[in-house]
Subunit: 185 residues, 2 copies
């Protein structure tokens, strides 16, 4: 269990000792649940978000705006954005960001299916919501070039986080916050 | 010394014992430096930033754009923004934010002198750079209403901080990052 993310040697030992003490049925139920999850959960054919069905719940949802696609690198980002309850469009999960150092090029990501989606449907806006890092910037700019012939391409704002104090913000965040300033309405 | 910010009983004791062990001249020099600083450092007459002169170095600097004023709540924010080396205009230090709970209304801040500056000079843009909190928002909107008749009023961007992971951002920051999205250039 040490190989699980966030589980070090101590936690692994605690988990193992806990399971050994539980009744057999409980451990069997957990093992079965893990196998079932692994078997049943796959990727949505349309947006590549995790899904137990061939097409995920968000893609099938009739009330969600089909003209807007929010591009993220990972399914965890979909979950984070859904928690805001602000976004009502669809998603596209890339499965990572372009990172030549790690051997991840555009062909390892779901970029081709994204281009296909955007070129074949009437998409009004693609919102790129990728975390700001060198690889994230590269991926955003690359996607921008590919998608701009088909639709409007926007990216999420970078700046001061909520509850953040100007005084404690790092220089790059402050510089981006200044650069990204907008007219007060 | 316990009353100084960041100095609790333990640190106060450590500082006191340290000073007692130092030669007399050292302690006298420190005491004199404190008195001198208190006596010599005041507020700039124009922007209310800390200054040893009647008008501060930034206000007097001939290369700084006199048509742009960045409004901050505190002198510490000026120092933070100067570190970015991105901003080349002037400042205005409010001396706090509007906070009725703490008995701070507009008249306790340097808002009147700011209005006078903006109405009497040719100011092209006022950038409001106030940390996002309930009081900060109130102050920003209040200033926007007062200043908009005279000039363009902008505010710094709120969103994902640099190096921030989408997945770990709080909901309000993510919602603001989505809302503040801009077209990819």
């Amino acid at each position: 269990m040490q190989h699980l993310p966030g589980v070090g040697p101590k936690t692994a030992q605690r988990l193992a000792l806990h399971l050994i003490k539980r009744p057999d049925e409980d451990v069997q139920a957990l093992a079965q649940a893990l196998l079932d999850a692994k078997q049943q959960v796959g990727f949505c054919q349309v947006c590549f978000h995790l899904s137990a069905e061939p097409v995920c719940e968000i893609c099938r949802h009739p009330q969600r705006d089909p003209d807007t696609i929010c591009v993220v690198s990972d399914s965890r980002d979909v979950i984070a954005l859904e928690k805001t309850r602000e976004y009502k469009g669809k998603y596209h999960v890339l499965g990572g960001v372009i990172s030549p150092m790690d051997g991840i090029g555009p062909e390892q990501l779901t970029i081709q299916p994204l281009i296909r989606r955007v070129s074949q449907q009437q998409i009004k806006e693609v919102i790129i919501a990728i975390s700001p890092s060198v690889e994230g910037e590269t991926t955003t700019l690359y996607l921008g070039q590919l998608l701009r012939p088909f639709t409007k391409v926007t990216r999420i704002a970078f700046g001061l986080p909520m509850g953040g104090e100007l005084e404690y913000a790092d220089e790059i965040t402050l510089a981006r916050a200044l650069e990204g300033r907008r007219e007060l309405e």
